[in-house]
Symmetry: C2
Subunit: 174 residues, 2 copies
């Protein structure tokens, strides 16, 4: 861990935590997660809880957003909700069926619910959230057999970097 938050250094060390035996699929996930981490850094600098999100379809970026709850005075302005809205506007459809979502922090119930509503195909997240995570930690809404949609989910991608940003942020808030 860095002794204090140094943005340049943080960015220069990304991506973090790629295992030595990472295959091409893992490297691909890390590439998109790195983009989401850049968004999280942007949120940090905006004095927002540092969470970033990217939505990918056919190898292209459909949406790239960061948490803007305080700036927008809107409790629904989490990175994922903004990304879904942006991606749906771009596609001209609320169905994000073949989309993959990369987010630096495990989605809460609102955001996991929104990903279900949008019928996204796949979710990759960084840090697990023991207080509110709804895609495997506190709840498992992403693959509940009673719902009409399930989301293939992978946790822990570049988790160290995501956790580092969150810790540094909350350290400054105390």
């Amino acid at each position: 861990m860095l002794p204090d938050f140094d943005l340049q250094k943080f960015l220069s060390q990304l991506p973090w935590g790629i295992p030595d035996d990472a295959d091409a699929d893992y490297m691909r996930d890390c590439r998109w997660m790195q983009l989401a981490l850049f968004e999280a850094v942007g949120a940090f600098l905006d004095d927002e809880v540092p969470v970033g999100c990217v939505i990918i379809k056919d190898g292209k970026v459909l949406a790239k957003t960061r948490n803007r709850k305080e700036q927008m005075n809107n409790p629904t302005a989490h990175a994922e909700i903004l990304a879904i809205t942006e991606a749906a506007a771009k596609l001209g459809s609320w169905r994000l069926e073949d989309c993959e979502v990369y987010v630096t922090l495990e989605p809460c119930s609102m955001c996991t619910g929104a990903l279900l509503q949008a019928r996204v195909k796949r979710l990759v997240y960084g840090a697990r959230d023991s207080k509110a995570g709804a895609a495997g930690t506190l709840f498992s809404l992403h693959n509940d057999s009673r719902l009409n949609h399930k989301i293939e989910t992978k946790a822990g991608c570049l988790e160290d970097a995501a956790v580092f940003l969150l810790r540094e942020f909350f350290k400054r808030k105390r």
Copy 2:
């Protein structure tokens, strides 16, 4: 039940299903729910799944919205999300702490999660949703002891009218 959907007749018969022994608090809930039902009728006429929502603070309407998912091409454009966004904009704060939310259909996990994010005080809903309801039916996110907020919740207010609208809508969709 009406033999076919007749808007004038439907509206003239509102509010439905008030028990004979309803007290002043119940009548108050019915009054706000009736407003939410009018919004649901608006959604029906817009060819949207008929769900309406009203947010009340200090006896005044802060937001009054209907489901607009298809019109907005946005999977997050449920009545509740739009209402929360509108109410927060009006208050200039994402904290809807002393607000009561009236919605004609039980909120899904996205919307219950959003109500938790907004820290609303109380939720009153009409129809229970066995397929996606997250405030008592399929999930109970509204009062999970592990979360940092709980929402006092009352189900079934003017449920017959809400169910009637939904049934008539889906009958036409088949």
